[in-house]
């Protein structure tokens, strides 16, 4: 099940938010709507833990996919600054802030224009696939100008 080589109990941080033996992966497939996001699988689903712990990094000005799903995201910011849309709110994010994205809630994270945003994201081992907004969803989001300005698709 493990997507990373088993190297013993300790995986060293190499500096710069890179870890020994852990690949820096694409966040999603090419063509999906996101900008400048990478993904590292720190504790994969097969490692015997409660869930899967990933580290995502969004480059300056980058953004994750606007989506929602039944599973919850639990986020710990480790690096930089940014903002998050969660439901109908836009929230500033700084280092070590904790963010919980509830079930079935539209969300998108954006790095500050001149700073990387790096964060841990904890999810259940078993989880549903994200849903992207349709035309009616986008219309509803854009009815609030602040949200309409924030979102990237």
């Amino acid at each position: 099940m493990s997507e990373q080589p088993k190297t013993g109990p300790l995986v060293r941080h190499l500096g710069g938010f890179r870890w020994e033996g852990i690949a820096v992966q694409a966040y999603k497939a090419e063509g999906e709507p996101f900008r400048d996001v990478t993904r590292q699988l720190l504790f994969p689903a097969g490692a015997g833990g409660a869930g899967e712990l990933r580290y995502f990094e969004v480059g300056p000005g980058g953004w994750t996919t606007l989506e929602r799903h039944a599973h919850v995201h639990q986020v710990v910011v480790l690096r930089g600054q940014g903002r998050a849309l969660v439901g109908d709110r836009i929230l500033d994010l700084a280092r070590f802030d904790l963010l919980c994205v509830p079930a079935r809630t539209w969300h998108q994270l954006r790095a500050a224009p001149d700073e990387v945003l790096g964060f841990l994201c904890l999810v259940d081992r078993e989880r549903d696939r994200p849903e992207r907004p349709g035309a009616a969803d986008l219309e509803a989001l854009r009815a609030t100008p602040e949200l309409g300005e924030f979102i990237r698709i």
Copy 2:
């Protein structure tokens, strides 16, 4: 189910590894064998996530309880330096290192003599109670001098 007040999706880091609305708790009951350890429940079991995410802080020279259990610990070091006993190994810990304590494996974390050790620890929502070493367990650990010197009980 939640052990912390529900304040919305964002919990701000206040600086110094303290978070708004999250209590700094005792690590374990008085009288249990540990030294200078606190516990903060960042994402409690009732928050809808895969597990429970806690932040532990061990003061300079402090140590967690030597114990083992069926559930797995997944640790991300956030602050300072220390060492961990995991099974028959002693491992140096530095910031952002990842540590996985397998099931049924003796473990103990110690802060460096002059530094705080702060770490995230992810566990399953439902988990068994820790077991402390008996006389035969301690004898087995102490058969390796390096382990015997490390452990505190």
